[in-house]
Each structure stands twice: as structure tokens, then as C-alpha cells.
């Protein structure tokens, strides 16, 4: 199996750095530190959140389609200033993080997560389960060149406010 061979040459150091990237990404959002979120991406990035069925039918449409880091900043500004929504806390559980392949400069990675939100009534609800297909630049700081979130929970309960 090629995939196994490829990942077998991924160094423990890289695996550990990628794991840390995903954990840091999740805790940044869960901590409510949205202003730091765009810094996980290179300037010329793609951030795309779309339902599985659109994806599997070859359709690109999804809730969020951002083609550069500026568009991510726009979203943070909107969440902070223009969008009207009930307060909520977010909790992400990220797992199955794997380096699919790397050329030393960048790495193709993937992960799975479940995201829960808790509104003012104090009940926690599943917001979505999803897989991510990502491309990471391996500089001094790891940054996403692409983060594509394919979610199964197509009938989104309420609204998807915060980034995933």
C-alpha cells in the first residue's frame, strides 16, 4: 500500500508538529480567540466548508468559501460586528490526524472532528461531524495553504457561526 509507505517516511518530528497544529487550531476557536484564527493560514489560502453530498456530486457549494486570508479576516469582523446570533460556546474534538504525503516543503494532511455547541440554556448539542482535507506549509510556523472541511451533518442545527 502506497499510502502506508508514504506515511512511514514521515518523521516523528513532523507528525508531532502537525498534531500540535490541529490541537492549537481547535483550542484557538474554542477559547473564543477568533482574531488569531486567520493567522493559521497563508495569505493565498483556500478555506472551504461544504456538505459531503455536494462534494461527492462534484459541486463546490457550501456554507463558507474563502479564497484568501483577507476573506477570513472579513468573516471574523462580521462575526464580531455584524452577525446577529445567540451566544454560544464551541467545543471541538479532533482526531485521526494523519500526514498523507509530504515533499518536505508542504504536507497533505487530513483529520476528523466532531464539533459541539452549547447555548445559554446549558445543553450541549452536536453541531457537526466532519473530515478535513488539508495542505500545510512547513515553515518555521505551520500554516494552512488549504483547509477543506467536508461535513456529514448536512441538516445543520441552527446556524454555523464560528469557523470549524
Amino acid at each position: 500500500m502506497t499510502a502506508t509507505n508514504t506515511s512511514s517516511i514521515v518523521s516523528d518530528n513532523l507528525k508531532s508538529r502537525i498534531d500540535d497544529l490541529y490541537a492549537h487550531y481547535a483550542d484557538t476557536i474554542c477559547d473564543g480567540n477568533l482574531e488569531a484564527w486567520p493567522d493559521f493560514f497563508v495569505d493565498d489560502c483556500l478555506y472551504h466548508v461544504k456538505p459531503r453530498s455536494n462534494h461527492e456530486s462534484g459541486m463546490m457549494l457550501g456554507p463558507i468559501f474563502s479564497e484568501n486570508r483577507g476573506a477570513l479576516i472579513d468573516r471574523v469582523v462580521a462575526i464580531r460586528n455584524s452577525m446577529v446570533f445567540a451566544p454560544r460556546a464551541m467545543c471541538y474534538v479532533v482526531g485521526s490526524i494523519r500526514v498523507v504525503e509530504t515533499d518536505g516543503e508542504t504536507a497533505r494532511t487530513r483529520s476528523m472532528f466532531s464539533a459541539y455547541h452549547t447555548l445559554e440554556d446549558g445543553d450541549s448539542h452536536l453541531l457537526m461531524v466532519a473530515r478535513t482535507f488539508d495542505h500545510v506549509a512547513l515553515g518555521d510556523e505551520l500554516k494552512f495553504i488549504e483547509r477543506v472541511v467536508i461535513f456529514d451533518t448536512e441538516r445543520v442545527p441552527g446556524a454555523l457561526i464560528y469557523p470549524v
Binding site: M59, L61, P63, F65, S66, N68, A78, M83, G158
Partner: protein, 421 residues
């Protein structure tokens, strides 16, 4: 049974009474009452009204089908051998099982997985296993007539690719149902060009389905709630625009308007949400290119009972509101383009779609307000909503301006008729 108990029972089942003789009041029980909800299913969703089921390109080839929902019932939009579209109840005539489970599928025939009752593409029962029994045992009665056991076939009409169906044969022809003014706007988007579906989005919201129709018939909130729309001049209450309603029922409505230039806001002192200095790093999601023969930059059409057709800059969407009981609904978005769109246009439509759906810069506000409304009306069925912006009449203002709640009054004026209140 003691007196106290019987009085209580009577109150629960007391016929509901509308609190005014016009539609300027809406009793909040219309959003939560179970009996009222079941009456809506019978009279509105399964009655002589037309319901959106899909666009014909979703079932392109003979044998292709798409599942859709009318009221709470699953139906199948099926492409027939002669290329016509049939809409069939997705419930086996044998024991009621759903025949098709996939959202989209294809086959020579429709076969129920439970006992393999097999239907043709028009819903006619073709055969049943063991009709003559096995080794002389069992079998169906000699007078069993397959012709009497087909899938229920709905009355169906197609308007330039948009497919509508009705459970009730008494439904008038579709063009009479929505009327000439509404047809003019519907065929502005469904203009005869071949369509392309560019994607779907779905949301589940805790509130009554009618709250969403009201929201779309309400230009009052749009200029106050939606900072994003207002700040970018995509929609403001002072912009050039028209309210049109079907003059016979007042139940179908269109708002069509032309974008303001930024920083020209009349009445801005009353719009706390207006933020003229708000700038986007990537403004492509609000930059339109003209694609229709008029200057309308935003057109929102509501067709009774539960369909919304919207052109917002270059984003073309249908929103179908599917009730899930009195207190919850699914909002099902279908995003359209035209088959001859080039790649640049498709990308533009994708960018503009950032404004709508579960994360939409504009639509998030509405999804959330639906839940706030649901939470506020649920425990207060004895209260009534007040709809008096621009008077109490269900008819649109003669000047056709948009500073009005007439379209919501129009909806409830018709609703009272249909529901017998």
C-alpha cells in the same frame, strides 16, 4: 368526570378564534398549536395548493428520480420514458413502506425493498412476488387488481424546469394559482434557459414554518437587522424598489429593488445597524455582473405556502420550507445557475453564496431570529402579533413602496380563508 376537568378539556379543544377581523393581528397559537398544525397539513400541504418539488435537471434521464418532501410526506420526482416528469407518493401501496431511500437514484422501475412490489415510472403496479402462490399455496385472490394498487400520482406541472406538484386534483392550473404578475417574476429566473444545480444547503430551525415565510415577506426587518446588507447597499428600505402581490389572493409576493450607492442612506439615523465605514478585504462576494435584461439587483419572491425564489446579485436560490411539526422546520436551499454559465460565472455564484445558507453573512441573522421567535411565541399562545406598518390592509401600498408589512398581512388574509378562521 368532575366539572373542573371537563371545563379544562373543553378549553383545550375549543375552536381557535382569530383575535381581529383583519390580518393586522396574528394569534401566536398559529405557531405552536398541534391541532392547527394538522389542519395546515390537510388543508394547505395536502390541499389544492402547489408545492415545489425540484428542477427537472435533477432527474435528467428516464428512470432518474429525486426524493422531495411535501408537508411531511416523501414524494418522488421521476423522469418518465417520454421525458415528462411524474411526481409519486413515496409510500408502497402494499404496506406503506418508503420505496426509495436515496436522495437521488435511477432505475428501470421503482421496487419496494420490503416485498419487491414493482412499479413503473408512472407509479403503476407492474407485479407482486408470489401473486399465484408457491406450489399451489397462498397467492393473491383472483380478483386482485394491480391497477388499483399503484403509487399515488400527484398533479404535476413544470414551469421552464421548475417542477410543482399537488396532492389535490382540485388545484387550479399553476399559472392561475400564482397569477400573471407572479408568473412574470418567476419566469425572470426560470426564463427557459437550461438550468444547472450548483449545490444544496440544509438547516434545521426551531420555530414554526410560517415564521420563515413572514421573515421573507418583511422588508421592515431587512434594513434594521441585516447590518451586512445595509452597509454594502445591497438592500436598504430607502432604495428604489417595488412590492408586488398577487392581487386576487395577496398570498404571493415579490420585492424587487435596485442597489443604492454606498453612503447614501436616507433614514440612517433610525438604522442603528448602518455602518458606512465597513470595508471588506475580499469584496468579490458582493460584486455583481448584470445578467438579466433589467436593473433589479435583488428579487425575492414568496409563493404560498412555502417557496422562496431569490436572485441576490448573481446568486440564484430556491428556499423550500419543510415543516417538521408545529415547532420545527427544515430550510432546504437549492442554488442554481444556467447550463451555459462559464467558469467565471460559476465562481461568482459560489462567492455570492457566502451571503446565504447556515453561515451566510446575511442569512445567519434570520436563522437565529427564527429561533428567538420560536422561543418567544411558544409559551405565549394567547398573545397576538401586531402588523400595522403601513396600515392594516392586506393589499400592497398603491405606490408599491417597501416600507410596509402588507405582504405578511396578505399571507394571513389568505391563510384565514384557507384554514377557515
Amino acid at each position: 368526570m368532575d366539572d373542573g376537568h371537563s371545563v379544562m378539556t373543553e378549553n383545550i379543544h375549543e375552536p381557535r378564534v382569530w383575535p381581529s377581523d383583519d390580518a393586522s393581528r396574528v394569534p401566536l397559537w398559529v405557531y405552536s398549536d398541534e391541532t392547527n398544525y394538522h389542519r395546515e397539513l390537510e388543508r394547505i400541504f395536502y390541499g389544492p395548493h402547489w408545492h415545489y418539488v425540484g428542477v427537472d435537471v435533477e432527474a435528467s434521464n428516464p428512470g432518474d428520480y429525486k426524493r422531495a418532501t411535501i408537508g411531511e410526506r416523501s414524494v418522488l420526482m421521476v423522469r418518465d420514458r417520454d421525458n415528462s416528469i411524474n411526481v409519486l407518493l413515496n409510500s408502497c401501496a402494499h404496506r406503506g413502506t418508503e420505496v426509495c431511500q436515496k436522495s437521488f437514484g435511477s432505475g428501470e422501475a421503482l421496487i419496494c425493498p420490503y416485498h419487491q412490489w414493482t412499479y413503473d415510472l408512472q407509479g403503476n403496479l407492474q407485479g407482486v412476488p408470489f401473486r399465484n402462490g408457491v406450489k399451489g399455496q397462498g397467492g393473491f385472490p383472483e380478483d386482485f387488481n394491480p391497477a388499483q394498487h399503484g403509487l399515488q400520482r400527484l398533479k404535476t406541472e413544470t414551469v421552464n424546469g421548475a417542477v410543482f406538484a399537488s396532492f389535490d386534483d382540485a388545484a387550479p392550473p399553476f399559472s392561475d394559482y400564482i397569477g400573471p404578475v407572479m408568473m412574470k417574476y418567476l419566469t425572470r429566473v426560470f426564463n427557459g434557459k437550461k438550468l444547472r444545480v450548483i449545490g444544496y444547503q440544509r438547516q434545521k430551525l426551531r420555530g414554526n414554518w410560517k415564521l420563515y415565510m413572514e421573515n421573507i415577506k418583511d422588508p421592515y426587518h431587512a434594513t434594521l437587522l441585516h447590518v451586512f446588507l445595509v452597509s454594502f447597499g445591497i438592500y436598504r428600505i430607502d432604495q428604489i424598489g417595488v412590492t408586488e402581490q398577487d392581487e386576487r389572493t395577496n398570498a404571493h409576493c415579490v420585492f424587487a429593488s435596485i442597489r443604492n450607492k454606498r453612503n447614501e442612506a436616507e433614514g440612517a439615523e433610525e438604522m442603528q445597524s448602518y455602518k458606512p465605514d465597513y470595508e471588506l478585504h475580499d469584496p468579490r462576494m458582493v460584486i455583481p455582473v448584470p445578467e438579466f435584461p433589467d436593473e433589479i439587483s435583488i428579487m425575492i419572491q414568496t409563493l404560498f405556502p412555502n417557496l422562496i425564489v431569490q436572485q441576490q446579485t448573481n446568486s440564484l436560490q430556491l428556499r423550500n420550507i419543510i415543516p417538521l411539526g408545529p415547532d420545527e422546520f427544515e430550510l432546504a436551499w437549492t442554488y442554481l445557475g444556467y447550463d451555459d454559465d462559464d467558469e467565471e460565472m460559476t465562481m461568482r455564484r459560489l462567492r455570492h453564496a457566502n451571503l446565504t445558507g447556515p453561515s451566510g453573512y446575511v442569512s445567519v441573522d434570520d436563522s437565529e431570529v427564527m429561533e428567538f421567535s420560536g422561543a418567544g411565541v411558544r409559551p405565549n399562545p394567547g398573545n397576538a402579533a401586531v402588523l400595522e406598518l403601513d396600515g392594516r390592509s392586506p393589499e400592497p401600498p398603491p405606490e408599491k413602496h417597501m416600507v410596509t408589512e402588507a405582504a405578511i398581512r396578505g399571507f394571513y388574509h389568505h391563510y384565514r380563508d384557507v384554514m377557515g378562521y
